[in-house]
């Protein structure tokens, strides 16, 4: 009797979710409240995950920075990252362009710009140097002043 109950429980816990499995399109992110609940991701587990995320202080992670010179000779930058937190993160960034000597290029485009990243989602920041003398960059971020 106990063995039968154990098998039934195992069937419910393991087989049922597998049976319900449908392949996901990785390029499309369904936010909470949009997509279907799953045994792993539902109202109960989400609360635990949110609390845990807040405790360990998850936030913005920068994954990659790509630069290229466009056909007019200006450097283009794309910084891509991921918001590991469970809330939308708004922040400011400032890109400064550096010339071949490593000196900062004086430009009015180097200002604090605002951006936003949805929870558990990738984001990208784009910038273009307004001088052909730019060969490198540096970027800083800060919280949006309240």
């Amino acid at each position: 009797m106990r063995l039968t109950m154990l098998y039934t429980l195992l069937f419910i816990v393991i087989i049922c979710p597998l049976g319900c499995y449908t392949p996901r399109e990785e390029r499309v992110k369904l936010q909470e409240g949009v997509g279907s609940s799953t045994p792993i991701d539902n109202v109960v587990t989400q609360q635990i995950a949110h609390a845990f995320s807040a405790i360990i202080g998850q936030g913005i992670e920068i994954r990659n920075a790509v630069t290229r010179i466009n056909k007019d000779g200006f450097m283009e930058l794309e910084v891509s990252g991921f918001n590991e937190a469970y809330d939308t993160r708004r922040f400011e960034y400032k890109v400064e362009w550096l010339d071949a000597s490593g000196m900062v290029i004086d430009t009015t485009t180097s200002k604090w710009m605002q951006t936003s990243a949805m929870s558990k989602s990738p984001f990208a920041i784009k910038a273009v140097a307004p001088r052909t003398s730019a060969v490198n960059f540096r970027m800083n971020t800060r919280k949006i002043p309240n």
């Binding site: 466009n70 007019d72 009015t108 485009t109 180097s110 200002k111 307004p130 309240n146």
Partner: protein, 205 residues
Amino acid sequence: MIKKLLPITLLAIVSFGCQPATENIDTINDPGKAVLGLDYRDFDRAASEMVQSMVASGAFKKEGGGRYVVAKGKITNDTMQRIDTDQLMGKVEQELTRSGLVVMTAAVGAGSEPGDSLVHSVRDIRDSDKGDEFNQDTLQAKGQLIAPELSISGKIIQRNVRYDNDKQQVEYYFQLRMTNLTTGLNFWQNEMVMGKRGDKKLAPW
């Protein structure tokens, strides 16, 4: 007499002590709160985004080399605020010129006002009796001005929307376009939206 003056003196001291001190703004890394109206940070952001959009567009590469000559067209201020549109255009023009993409002309501008009235004043002097007072070799010869090929124009629009019982939403639209004066075709166009929400009792200007 002293008894009468004492409360007034105390009140004056307390009032003076409560006055917020005047301080200079750190315009490089301003940690100040957002305001409902448009402040210098908004113009900085708008100008930066517009210039980057122009540079990235690749639309200003002149065939055969050289740079386009650009005249400043009309920038309409359709907001509830008294804005000198040069606050935006000054930054855009400055950065475009320094980028080496285009050359701005001060000889012609939107309406009857050129970018720099002296361009025409010196010619008026040349053609008048006063011109005789000048060394003729230093006066501007005729046919020297370069006509603009492109014109930059745009509009700043404000929309006020009631958000809820306590808040209002103020939307600002910065629109700029670059027009080829020969063909009338738009070379480049961009719109940037800034939205702000705040106390409905606050005046957004």
